[in-house]
Symmetry: C2
């Protein structure tokens, strides 16, 4: 399997971590968004949305969208709860991540760290909704080690990716102690180098 990914992208790292956790071999093809390497005619021919990550499976078929990729790769593994309701809650978190978390927490980090914006220059909506996402995560993690049930799932993989980088966008993780403890636990479970 080939993973077309940008090492600075949490969405891409989700795929790498899932493969590493599952012991699944892959070739990583560095594809830099800031160099428009995901917008070349060649890349677009395989991945029409022009986004990373994209994977080309062992049989040559392409798949895009980080959360769809990790759901496919992890099918039948312990990263997906066996219980139907827990599986649905995992999906709830994964869709919430892409709609209510990534566009704020990841975008703030990208603009500050990679585009050189000051935190004060960020769109107020980005800061406000990022804070709201972190607060919601902190409340959900009260008394819990993982987001769904009592073990690691793809909900944790998806949400830890940009949450652990939130300070780069000006958010203070010390304000969210449950989130901080959870990040440490998920990094440990996924063996993410810190």
């Amino acid at each position: 399997m080939r993973i077309y990914g940008d090492s600075i992208s949490g969405n891409c790292l989700k795929v790498k971590w899932t493969c590493d956790y599952l012991g699944r071999p892959y070739e990583w093809i560095e594809t830099q968004v800031m160099q428009a390497q995901s917008r070349t005619p060649e890349y677009l021919a395989t991945f029409p949305a022009g986004q990373v990550p994209g994977v080309v499976l062992d049989d040559g078929r392409p798949l895009a969208q980080s959360n769809a990729i990790i759901l496919h790769l992890a099918e039948g593994s312990d990263l997906i709860p066996a219980d139907a309701y827990e599986r649905a809650r995992m999906l709830e978190w994964m869709f919430w991540e892409q709609y209510s978390h990534e566009p704020y927490v990841a975008v703030a980090r990208f603009q500050v760290r990679f585009l050189g914006k000051a935190v004060a220059e960020l769109e107020p909506k980005v800061i406000e909704r990022g804070l709201s996402a972190l607060k919601r995560l902190d409340e959900a993690l009260e008394g819990r080690k993982y987001l769904v049930g009592d073990r690691l799932s793809l909900a944790d993989v998806a949400l830890v990716a940009y949450t652990r980088e939130a300070e780069d966008g000006g958010f203070r993780l010390a304000d969210y102690p449950n989130v901080q403890a959870w990040i440490g636990g998920v990094e440990h479970a996924l063996k993410i180098p810190t």
Copy 2:
């Protein structure tokens, strides 16, 4: 099952259409976003993200996020492809819908139709990315009746919801003939009143 939904929201209608298609009974509890009915302390106690739709399943457990809800309700039905790769492609479209389509196509429609903005007042990014999403859909639907494989799936349910309303946001569906034909086919398959 109780569905807390706003009848003007495509995200909520996805859940209704899926239930209707599957012949699954439900009580619809009209929950108007513009009246902040999804932000009351009572609603937030069940659905902490404060979004519609939310469902309370027969056993009393809550579930949020339109696409997670329809994936849960349709488990084991013909709305989810049996083939693993087709299932993954369906999920790819569903995550793409929430990240690259809904925030532009649905937001343009909401601001024009329900907030009374002129199309010319929309954020340029909203228009540009909405156009780009419709173009991508049109290309993907070339020679195809449905988005995944050769039959209706949740990818069609998720994407038709706001695509069929795109003209309300100033987009011209006549520019996307494959999309127009597909909308008609999906409306027919789902028996959506037009």
